[in-house]
Amino acid sequence: MRTSVLIFVWPLILVAAVLYVMPLITRAGIFFGATVDPDFPRSSEGRRLLRSYRLQLVLWSVAALAVTLAWAPEHPLLGGLVPMVVLLAAVSIAYWRNFRVVHMRYGITRPEVRQASLSPAAAQANLRVGLIAPPFIALGLTALYLRLHWSEIPERFPVHWGADGQPNGWAIRDAHGVYGPLLMGIAMSVLVLVMAWVIARLSRNTVMRSVTVRSLEVLLYPLTLTFIVIGLLPLMRPANPAAIVLLTIIPMLLTVVGVMYWSYRKISVPAPETDVSPEPQRDAYWKAGMFYYNPNDPAIFVAKRVGIGYTINLGNKISWLVITGLLLIPLVIALLPALVPHAR
């Protein structure tokens, strides 16, 4: 198989794998986004619903892969984007149908009891400086190393490669060209930290909050490693730099899988009966089992019912400002490389 086709195939396989395990990455007592008895997922009906979802996922994934193999890389839209969108839409519908079945036939109602800690210190989480500092120090040391070996950096070096693995963008040996990847790494890391800080300060005191904040802090490590490797490429001058960049995906993937597994272990522990769940309980707040809508809840960020992390309260007006901001982030990231002048 050609490397260029693999670039289109692996995201599909990755997404399908995540969707396959996703229904199980949830809190005890939640199944397909609906509130159930903690033992229901292991019942025969629970297992049947999971099998039905997975069968549909597998069939749609195979269809999406077939379309990708037929059209990529010559037609990136038809061979890359369209199969991915169709796969996500079809699996979302399968998920939503299972949510309805579980909620209507097997759903239970838990009391809407809430609890607040009266200690201001316990009410919010904090970022761990000792955990987040090393990636930034590593980026700084890399910049220092590049400065000390400035004369060994070629006058012109590749910084971007096409789907065929051939370089299609170059930088020159100046401050922007050499330090650009490291600056990009700092920008991305700060973005991750802002997300962690916002969740630490603006979400309820839950296990999900602590695992999400810690996970984001840990993800800084593979993220900065990627930018450090890219930053050092002009000095390393490997035979196949594109392959080196692709290899940095491996630590990222391993970290993501490790963090997801650790988070799953943390959130899936059944809470004692006497404990109060800090998050809203009613299924009615969860549209299609995925989207949270509760105008009476002042929270902007609410722990997801399925998967790790947070979703946005669509019933809160401020949330729409946040969504607009989040949509602007990719735009800003897309504009960042423009700061690095390319000598074509």
Binding site: Q115, A116, P120, P278, D297, P298
Partner: protein, 128 residues
Amino acid sequence: MSADPTLRIDLDSSVPAYRQIVDGLRVLLVSGKLKPGAELPSVRRMALDLGVHFNTVAEAYRALADEGWLDLRHGRGATVVEREAPPPSAEQLDEFRNRLRSLTAETRAKGVPAAKLRSLLRAAAEEL
């Protein structure tokens, strides 16, 4: 597990959230679980954790500040202050007697024996 005091409310209850917050905090204040100098979370944080509107918590804090339990500072949470319980007026005693009679009648109507009710009242009076 932390031993920090917590406030618990039931959003399904017929008792308004504001009343539950005031009553719940007052129990902690009278029992001494919240001592003078203790800082309560900000209105925003408390509202977020309880899933109620900011105004509901702000109103509850104001009510307790009016009773002399809390000192409210702009932009901060609320601080528990030393409070001298003023002697109750005749009207307050009348109101209290009426509320207690209503509660007693409701409890008795639900089948709680008088002896059990006496022991519950004694325990509550000793605890608070």
